[in-house]
């Protein structure tokens, strides 16, 4: 593993107003972990519903391996292709325009539906806490999405500074909960042996473990979003690998602590259906302080995630406009705040609409589907990257070790996850693929005629091998 000095291979976009380079590794960490940490507060536990409590632990580690591969691969490619749009810019330079168009849509769908899930969680949590009859989550959902969109509109530095603070508080609350329940002692507060028994650990057997992969993704979904900041970090070659890897380590620790505490405090059948596993864990300790802390942390985690998702989805959409894959109207940068403001505003009503018509696990499934399609692309993308530009042919900010093992592991785990989604949510998977197929035909046979050919390749690299 090598980390080189700052790459100078940054992207130039003529005389247009560009995004500001103001972010450091802490912001990258805040963006990645901020998007993902909400997964510990809700979502991961649906893996227990699909396979039992032990299945949720097994997928926590195995899917952790998937995401470690994602982080390693992503760090190498993004530290070399430092452009807004993250995986979209990678696809454009390595695979081709149609793949790039699809990858951008994967990103926009994954992040927008994640934002929707966050807003629903936040609204439901407040309604559950208030306990007032007739109170609905709609106004809380609308306020969350609109206020965060405004924050993103006003500037990336402030957005990610806010994310850093609220993510850190939410993370610390998990650590406080973990140490408050005497994790080294079973029987006093935690009762893992009585709740996860040989008879109920895997209620569906090993097929349940495979099925649980679907929601196991939710432990870490979105960590790859760090790459969206590539054009706004001061030193992409340093900040992106450090921020992403630190984020992954942080999340692996949080996921393990979360599973241990929750599986030791509630029966798997309840754990699998609750929207608030950590808040419920706080309640079940009997401590009002922990209960309130975890309530606030659930809200903060949802806010941080929605905030990061708006940031990332808007940059992916913005990149599509800049390359004329979509009307160039979307590529405008705000003259004062230097943000992709039209993309932020365009995606706002879409998020609002789905927040009102979808429920939480449907929105999560939409997001997971787009995420897994994207990871499948990434496993093939890194193989093509190394083949077209072998080591030594271009300057890489970071070179990931053990190639091609991480790519093979990632691909195999993606195949398993598709099968897991088929077990219970197959219709949604087929509907989504049908959508991507049709929109791809539209792009390939119609929209692509508006795209300049050679201008899409902006990196100062030599011609790829084999072309």
């Amino acid at each position: 593993m090598t980390v080189a000095v700052e790459t100078r291979e940054t992207v130039v976009h003529g005389d247009r107003v560009s995004l500001l380079r103001v972010l450091g590794p802490a912001h990258v960490w805040a963006l990645g972990v901020g998007i993902v940490l909400v997964g510990e507060f809700t979502g991961w536990n649906f893996a227990a519903d699909k396979g039992g409590a032990l299945a949720a632990l097994i997928v926590c580690w195995v899917v952790g391996l998937l995401y470690t591969s994602v982080a390693m691969i992503d760090s190498e490619v993004t530290s070399t292709v430092a452009a807004a749009g993250g995986q979209y810019a990678q696809a454009k330079h390595i695979v081709g325009p149609l793949m790039a168009f699809n990858v951008a849509l994967f990103l926009v769908f994954a992040y927008t539906m994640l934002e929707v899930s966050d807003a629903i969680l936040l609204g439901d949590t407040i309604v559950a806490k208030a306990g007032v009859e007739g109170l609905t989550h709609n106004s809380f959902i609308a306020a969350t999405i609109v206020v965060l969109a405004w924050l993103n509109y006003r500037g990336v530095l402030m957005t990610l500074n806010v994310n850093f603070v609220i993510t850190a508080i939410a993370y610390i609350s998990i650590v406080i909960l973990f140490f408050s329940v005497s994790p080294w002692t079973q029987g006093a507060v935690l009762k893992l042996n009585e709740l996860v028994t040989p008879g109920n650990a895997l209620p569906y057997g090993w097929i349940g473990v495979i099925a649980a992969f679907q929601f196991g993704i939710w432990y870490y979904l979105g960590i790859e979003g760090t790459t969206q900041a590539a054009e706004e970090v001061r030193s992409p070659a340093r900040s992106l690998p450090y921020g992403t890897m630190a984020g992954m380590i942080t999340l692996l620790i949080a996921a393990a602590m979360t599973w241990y505490v929750c599986a030791s405090l509630m029966p798997w059948a309840y754990l699998g259906i609750t929207y608030y596993p950590l808040w419920d864990a706080g309640k079940l300790t009997g401590s009002p302080l922990l209960e309130n802390l975890l309530f606030i942390a659930t809200l903060l985690a949802a806010l941080a995630s929605a905030n990061g998702c708006i940031n990332d989805a808007a940059r992916a959409w913005f990149s599509l406009g800049r390359d004329r894959y979509l009307p160039s109207w979307f590529s405008a940068v705000h003259p004062k705040f230097r943000t992709p403001y039209r993309s932020i505003l365009f995606l706002l009503p879409i998020a609002l609409a789905f927040a009102f018509i979808a429920d939480l696990n449907q929105a999560i499934t939409f997001s997971i589907l787009s995420g897994v399609l994207q990871y499948t692309f990434m496993s093939i993308n890194i193989m093509m990257f190394r083949k077209k530009w072998p080591l030594g042919s271009i300057r890489r900010g970071y070179t990931h070790p053990f190639h091609p093992l991480p790519a093979i592991v990632l691909f195999c785990l993606c195949v398993v996850t598709f099968f897991a989604i088929f077990l219970g949510f197959g219709s949604q998977l087929i509907a989504m693929i049908a959508f991507y197929f049709l929109i791809s035909l539209w792009f390939h046979f119609y929209r692509y005629k508006f795209v300049r050919r050679g201008d899409q390749f902006t990196m100062p690299w030599p011609k790829p091998q084999g072309y």
């Binding site: 699909k50 081709g96 325009p97 309840y270 009307p327 219970g424 998977l429 791809s440 390939h444 050919r453």
Partner: protein, 125 residues
């Protein structure tokens, strides 16, 4: 190689393309919800005897359910609402074929477009 000059798109054309994308997004996400295709394929295995024992809950589990405000009657539909993992092979094969076809089309069509990009960028050298 001659440089490809794309046609200028009119404002009306841009608005139309935006509308196409928005409609496609809504159809893809909203239609499965509307048709009831979204959501988990689960069903309740009903029990006649609604006791903690019959529901497979030991004393510790029962006490936690009660702490959460549930009785055996109200917990029944949660505990007995189960997935039934029966692999429907024709559907699985269709899904696999659709997925593989999608990725094959994606990479092949992308490669054709990519060759034009590289030829123009590097001027055919």
């Amino acid at each position: 190689m001659s440089r490809y000059i794309p046609p200028e798109q009119s404002k009306a054309g841009q608005v139309f393309d935006i509308a196409v994308v928005v409609v496609a997004i809504f159809v893809a996400l909203w239609l499965p919800l509307k048709l009831g295709l979204a959501g988990a394929a689960k069903s309740i295995d009903a029990l006649d005897a609604k006791t903690w024992e019959a529901l497979g809950q030991n004393a510790t589990m029962a006490s936690i359910w009660e702490k959460l405000g549930y009785t055996p009657e109200t917990a029944h539909d949660i505990i007995q609402n189960r997935f039934h993992y029966i692999i429907d092979w024709p559907t699985l094969i269709i899904m696999a074929v659709v997925l593989i076809a999608y990725f094959v089309f994606m990479f092949r069509a992308s490669d054709r477009e990519y060759r034009d990009v590289i030829n123009e960028k590097f001027d055919g050298k």
